[in-house]
Amino acid sequence: MITLAVDTSTDVRVGIARDGVVLASGSVENPRAHAEQLMPLVESTLASVGLALGDVDAIVAGVGPGPFTGLRVGVVTATTLGLVLRRPVKGVCSLDAVAAAWSDAPERFVAVSDARRREVYWAVYAGGVRVEGPFVTAPSEVPDLPLAGPGAELVRPTSGPTILDAGVFAATASEMPDAGLEPLYLRRPDAELPTAKKTTIPQPRVSIRKRP
């Protein structure tokens, strides 16, 4: 069984596995090019091991936490592929994928990613299973445990893996808990509102965009 994994919680990552064995792991290390690069990377990563989209049996997508725009690109890509290929699509917490890549992990540790605005996303793992989180907090609130993940260095020096290996993700995804196909936003949409413009008319203190 061929599993295709996509994760856009950091930059652009694509992994392929066959029956739990990693076949390929690809990345485009650009955190702002998800819409441009994800689909080309899926095709080139598959092609690198002599496969095509039609060979894929199952699709998994990292649903974050992470920057929202990138996450949505990953999820809609996965769900659209699932629609066309008529294959199941599963959403997985991206921090679980980070944690799975730590081969000699300590009994308890924390996986961390960058939430920007001086905050981090994190979750606690014990015996390889997520037991707390994910949360979004200041780095100072992360428990004093060994760290892994792309945001770990924002908390303190780390001994675990700092990147999400999408090949490992694809190989281990079937054992990971189903997180659904809605990105793990952790923040309300109005927390993302830009600041208001000055106008002569009294209006709510939020900025809005033009309606078509």
């Binding site: 441009e36 690069q37 690109v73 659209t80 809005i208 309606r211 078509p212």
Partner: protein, 347 residues
Amino acid sequence: MTGPLILGIESSCDETGVGIVRGRELLANEVASSVDQHARWGGVVPEVASRAHLQAMVPALERALAKADVDLTEIDAIAVTAGPGLMGALVIGLASAKALAASLNKPLYGVNHLVGHVAVDILEHGPLDMPCGALLVSGGHTNLLKVDDLTSSITEVGTTIDDAAGEAYDKVARLLGLGYPGGPIVDKAAASGDPKAIAFPRGLTARHDLAKHRFDFSFSGLKTAVARWVETARLEGREVPIDDVCASFQEAVADVLTAKAVDMCDHYGLKQFVIGGGVAANSRLRTLLEERLAARGVALRRPRPGLCTDNGAMIAILGSEVVTAGLPPSASDIGADSGMPISKVLA
């Protein structure tokens, strides 16, 4: 010859649209709107719109395919809005379109949303006679366009220098406490008001403005004038005649839009004129434009309201015209362009 079977995806603002056309025949037009979720803010909140697009995209695709009664494998090409629009919203449609194109092994065409608003009337009233004029009016656009060739030569003759026309409607509706979106609400209230009750200003129509902004619009001064008028009335303890304010405001908007559209047709000798965008559904604008254009022998074309607002069919028909014209598909690594210029029909 029935023409290519094209699936079009639109997600530039708060409407998730999937349309399917065969040549110039409309087979499906499924739209999911997040407008209700924006009402409490009085305008589109980008993050709210983007979350809604993600939830709506695949269900809209499924509904459109069922409605058109076609199988995905029959589709000849995928068209998608590449811009202009909200970046976080555009990328959802674009990513979905890329996944469709790659998995179906069919070409992808990233097209200009504004040109889609012009093209959509082909589905209702047949091919356009070029050159023609176009007025796009909505909460996001106020553009006067000259269309010499739908797929390769479009010029922006005028645009707003501040607010979009629909934005002015939203703001006036808000200051009168009428709700959101403003267009239909103000139009309804205006129906029982006197359009001559209050003389609101017509932006950029004074002689000194015409020299530099003959075909441009400004609605910010009008919005402020309405706000001041209402404020003064309230301060003086007078009851605000909502219907008259709406009718007089709407008259000012329709008058200036129409006057400049007519001037443009005269200037370029145009004989056909298309309107599109949400405000194109406005009753007064349509009546006034029809009257004034007819007096000059210019035919007005307006698609039905459901095709005026953002939808996938307008992207599909533009894709169909682009494919038929033999233009090359977009590269697989194209991005969304939130400020895509009207001079670019294809990304």
